[in-house]
């Protein structure tokens, strides 16, 4: 009898070893912690992140997430019918602790047209919750899971056709903090990239429809951070102080593109590769897969405007993937001097030339429409050099503020955009000797951005039409 029991126990033990499919390492644990208490998850809209978790025990967390289909801006003057988790793109940020027991409620707003569900990559279980949360409009579903693995995870809608649900904005991030918590930093932000496919090309005004053909070909018109061109620029830039440490929770909803995430002007001290437990150091650019994430940490050593980009760089210059993090404070010359000299250097090199791609002219815009469109084009195409305030950068990029260079002839701006410009010029009494490549913009886009410049930055006003630009091209 006793022997039989021993044998049974042995068989049981061996079967445990063989059936345990979880890899035994620090980040995953099949031991379920005792649950103490209950709380309702704080959900935040990007770029904000819920406060760090200070508990040293597992609790029951109730998450209430509502699906809302609504028309929102994708760029100033361009709207789109987004499908959202919580009313924004990306969806609400969810923050829990490893070991927590999550009671998840998915609510499908009664005004929505379609059923939706949610696949949280943080869930071990059928469909990541998708099968349990398939919800008709005007209904609410519920399921529970224990957060076994720490990490930063994407969640997304997984209702067929899944690509279209994601392409319309249905994704967000859920952070499962390790039991010991994440190291303390001064500031945390939520940045999530997504690619969008519209009938009209980049910048075409009005309500844009989903373009299935472009989506299948994986040729997006927009690649943006936080759901909109300019969601993290100008007044909406993230702000920190010199000396502060920053943590970015970076996600990529896709649906198609893999992001080459890079911050111009700083180096990631730490990257939690793919949002997991492997920490790499001294990284310039980190890959963020579609349906994946990364956590990046860095210290902001000097004052500057750090530029967040997808370094698959045409997406940044021409499709919108640009964000800003302003670091304010005292200069630290020992780390970064700024420009120390500017002297003449002559070379035989020919100026850079871009292929000449004629663009079909769009319908004529009113001056008001041009100013709106022009602002967007400026921020995506011109701002990187001429700066948001139009002041340029001394010695390198001439100012557009109260510029005497084009004051007497407003067509100068359009000509410069069409043909590019190289060699020595004088602007407001200062000499510049650089190269501006010609820009591949349509006639209407050039008219808009020229009009925008003429009516901003203290310039004298005026208007340029697409027809003017067409003439100037010849």
């Amino acid at each position: 009898m006793k022997k039989g029991f021993k044998l049974l126990a042995l068989v049981f033990f061996i079967s445990l070893i063989f059936t345990n499919c979880k890899r035994n390492n620090e980040s995953s644990s099949s031991v379920i912690e005792k649950i103490k208490g209950e709380e309702i998850a704080v959900l935040t809209e990007a770029p904000n992140v819920p406060p760090p978790i200070t508990r040293n025990y597992a609790t029951k967390v109730i998450v209430n997430l509502e699906v809302i289909e609504k028309e929102m801006e994708m760029m100033d003057g361009v709207t789109y019918n987004f499908w959202t988790f919580g009313g924004s793109v990306p969806g609400s940020f969810i923050r829990i602790r490893q070991g927590d027991f999550v009671e998840f409620h998915l609510k499908n707003n009664p005004n929505n047209k379609l059923p939706h569900n949610i696949d949280l990559h943080a869930v071990s279980g059928q469909g990541g919750g998708a099968a349990a949360t398939f919800t008709a409009p005007g209904h609410e579903t519920q399921f529970s899971f224990t957060a076994l693995n720490a990490g930063l995870y994407i969640y997304h809608c997984a209702t067929a056709p899944v690509g279209m649900h994601i392409a319309n904005g249905m994704y967000g991030l859920i952070l499962v903090e390790p039991k010991e918590g994440l190291p303390k930093v001064d500031k945390e932000f939520y940045v999530c990239q997504g690619d969008f496919y519209t009938k009209g090309t980049y910048g075409e005004a009005g309500l844009q429809q989903f373009d299935m053909d472009k989506a299948l070909k994986e040729q997006p018109d927009y690649v943006v951070f936080n759901g909109k061109v300019g969601s993290l620029t100008g007044d909406k830039s993230m702000k920190v102080k010199v000396g502060e440490t920053v943590r970015l929770f970076v996600g990529n909803g896709g649906p198609n593109l893999v992001s080459s995430f890079h911050v111009i002007g700083d180096i990631f001290d730490n990257v939690y590769v793919e949002g997991g437990s492997l920490v790499n150091h001294n990284v310039q650019t980190t890959l963020v897969p579609a349906g994946g994430s990364a956590i990046t940490e860095f210290k902001c050593d000097v004052p500057s405007t750090l530029i967040l980009v997808d370094h698959s760089i045409f997406r940044t210059f021409n499709k919108g993937s640009l964000g800003m993090l302003k670091v304010e404070g005292e200069e630290v010359k020992a780390i970064y001097s700024g420009q120390q000299d500017d002297r003449i250097y002559q070379s035989e090199g020919a100026p850079q030339s871009m292929p000449d791609v004629p663009k079909v002219a769009s319908k004529p815009l009113t001056k008001e429409e041009k100013l709106i469109q022009g602002k967007s084009i400026y921020s995506s195409t011109c701002q990187a050099c001429h700066q948001a305030d139009g002041k340029g950068i001394g010695g390198a990029f001439p100012p557009l503020v109260s510029s005497d260079y084009f004051a007497s002839d407003p067509s100068t701006i359009a000509k410069t955009i069409i043909h590019g410009l190289s060699g020595k010029i004088t602007v407001n009494g200062k000499t510049y000797d650089g190269v501006m490549p010609k820009q591949t913009l349509s006639d209407a886009q050039i008219a808009s951005v020229s009009t925008y410049i003429l009516n901003n930055f203290g310039n004298k006003g005026g208007e340029v039409t697409a027809a003017d630009v067409t003439k100037l091209r010849k």
Partner: protein, 256 residues
Amino acid sequence: MRNFFIAIILFANLSVYGQGQTTMVNIKGGFYLPLYSLDSQKIVVKPFLMDIYPVTNMDYKKFVLQFPDWRKSKIKSIYADTNYLHHWTSDTNFNALLAFSPVVNVSWFAAKKYCECQGKRLPTVAEWELAGKANETKPDATKDLKFNQWLLNWVSKPNTRMLANVGSTFKNYYGVWDLHGLVWEWTFDFNSALTTGESRGDSGLDNTFFCGGGSFASKDINNYAAFMRFASRSSVKAKYGVPNLGFRCVKDKIAQ
């Protein structure tokens, strides 16, 4: 004064479709290839008659006046959830502007009963999809890019604040209005949409319809609008009331 105008609107509508709620048109039979089928097993659809319009609130009011068991205060909870006729202000009243809008928030049980009481029945998925393939000019517009884009545009938009009247979208090749562009519609076998292939177990019902699974074994992976309809059908249960789900009836064609 306002009521007077409403009366005019109602009258105008009535004159547009006359005895519309009882009018049916012939749908010539054909073959229907289910979105989910492991083999190219076509379903034969016999000729049938289909309501020209979805059932309206007004039509449905007549039904509950005649069959009080189906009023919202009386209906048995196994036949409908609490969304049943949620948009009606009482057992027999609703905003007069909705009189000729499709009735929504009705359960499958109620829709089925309604049709039976008219001597009709709910269409099968195959019948509905066969009729739904038509655009204004062609019986099968499934490969028509413009038609497909129109369908996708409609599904992309949230519901309008107030549902439009029946007869406000388009009249298709067969003379049927509003199969697309107004509301989703109940079908008789809505919940068997995924079990058309005999070689797939019923366990497939739960897990075929999300993520990549959605395209697995589909015969028409690019027909996104059809996926949306199938997703919509799969997300409901027979007692559900949904704010954009209505119905219409069909009838077998009796050989002349």
